[in-house]
Amino acid sequence: MKIPYYQVDAFTDRLFGGNPAGVCPLETWPPDRTLLAIAGENAKPGNAFFAPAKGDADFDLRVFTPTQEVSISGHTTLSAAFVIFTALGFASDTVTFDGQSGRLSVSRDGDLLVLDFPALPAQPDGPLDSVAAALGRPPQAVFTGLDWMAVFEGEDDIRALRPDMAAVAALDCRGVMATAPGETCDFVSRVFAPGAGLPEDQVTGSAHCMMTPYWAQRLGKSHLEARQLSKRGGTLICEDHGARVTISGRAVLYAQGTIEV
């Protein structure tokens, strides 16, 4: 079985920045174990598989880390849309996906790709002490939800984090995002998900589904520019629309080829 393969750097406008994702357009779905094996073999932080939709979306989409299927991955979805728009000759300016998180859509606005995602709620009831111990620095507040969100005072706090990855993996959550007001943008973040096989995720769209409503409310503005302060770094434009958020970014094609399994 031959499968086309694309590797995309998402949430960046330069090669080797942003967050890499493998993208595999499919005609039909192979067994789940094959999808998981491909994601493991690719060893990319995100792997997207999509095929013509059974319902009325354009495509059915499934996303994987190297070790597991996940319900939502922003940079992976953005990478899939980038391939659909640039390599597959998709005619419309909006592509819709059905996946584990329901209906997602990605639109193109010039070279910006705009993800329409659900806003993810955050409850301010997280355990300060265990998160402080895992991240090695005490946050001002910890919120819980799909991931946990630790809020710090300033950008310097985020840059200085040296988490104990075993302790982060032991927390009762998929991953932890650390966030603070930005010095040259609205907010900054880093994301640690060692339990999902990603000690530090480079750029994490889905984390912004939780951070966008928080910072929109706190800063009293709905249009926010965010930077993820990982080694590769990423830039995201976030908008708060109540129950939905849009997360926008650019992408660059690194490689294309064919997988044979």
């Binding site: 750097d9 090669l15 094996a37 073999e41 094609l253 490689a255 080829g257 997988i259 044979e260």
Partner: protein, 271 residues
């Protein structure tokens, strides 16, 4: 730097089926590109190693070869060399039966094809007693019968089950005074088994490690009194290594399978 497209292959080495063995990326070059770009490509690939080779082999070698992990260039790597030879034999020069590579250290490595099996000729690096590595038992969470070292730490256990059960403290392994850490024992169904941990190089556990067998083969060859041995690396993916001991050289053999063939978009490299 040039803007000619760079081909990329992803090959599973030391196995005869995809999704097993150890994946390596292989990039044939017409001429060497900037080392920073090779490092960026290896980081982007995020495999344990990416091999680059170009036709300026030294001392009569067919090619020169260099290897990069996601974080650094390294001096010697087995499975990416097997993967590189597989690309040459299967895709680039299908009539060839032998290929030689010169390395930055001045070694010449040869790979010979016999049917589906590729056999590499590497320098032996016998392990020596070494009590200065740090607390190997604490890092591995189990007490080895013997601790030796060459490039890598070398922890010998009594049984395959002990090696299979290891759950190392990777931060502690990274703190040892050696590049990687080999754990080995007699095999239940082969001559010896091993696992290889290299968190310091960004590879917590390597699925199959050719270069570790430069040290494993002289040790087990001496201990078992054999020159031909069958080894299994008992990682999750698993690998099979056909071993030969020839004094100062070792032969490391196995199969290889191409998983992905593609092109890197060099036109978008930043200047």
């Amino acid at each position: 730097m040039g803007t000619a497209p760079i081909s990329i292959y992803q090959v599973d080495a030391f196995t005869d089926r995809v999704f097993a063995g150890n994946p390596a990326a292989v990039c044939p070059l017409d001429a060497w590109i900037d080392a920073g770009v090779m490092q960026a490509i290896a980081t982007e690939n995020n495999l344990s190693e990416t091999a680059f080779f170009a036709p300026d082999g030294q001392d009569g070698a067919d090619y020169a070869i260099r290897w990069f992990t996601p974080v650094d260039e390294i001096d010697l790597a087995g499975h990416p060399t097997l993967a590189t030879a597989h690309v040459i034999f299967s895709a680039l020069e299908p009539t060839r039966e032998t290929v030689t590579f010169s390395t930055r250290l001045g070694d010449t490595l040869s790979v010979v094809r016999a049917g589906d099996r590729l056999t590499m000729d590497f320098p032996a690096r016998a392990p020596q007693p070494n009590d200065a590595l740090g607390d190997v038992a604490a890092a591995l969470g189990a007490e080895p019968a013997e601790v030796l070292a060459a490039r890598d730490g070398f922890a010998v256990f009594k049984s395959e089950a002990e090696v299979a059960a290891l759950a190392p403290d990777m931060a502690a392994v990274a703190g040892l005074d050696c590049m990687g850490l080999i754990a080995t024992a007699p095999g239940d169904e082969c001559d010896f088994v091993s696992r290889f941990f290299a968190p310091k190089m960004g590879v917590p556990e390597d699925p199959v490690t050719g270069s570790a067998h430069c040290t494993l083969i002289p040790y087990w060859g001496e201990r078992l009194g054999k020159t031909e041995m069958l080894a299994h690396q008992i990682s999750a993916r698993g690998g099979t290594i056909h071993c030969g001991h020839d004094g100062t050289r070792v032969r490391i053999g196995g199969g290889a399978v191409t998983y992905m063939t593609g092109t890197i978009m060099t036109g978008t490299f930043a200047p």
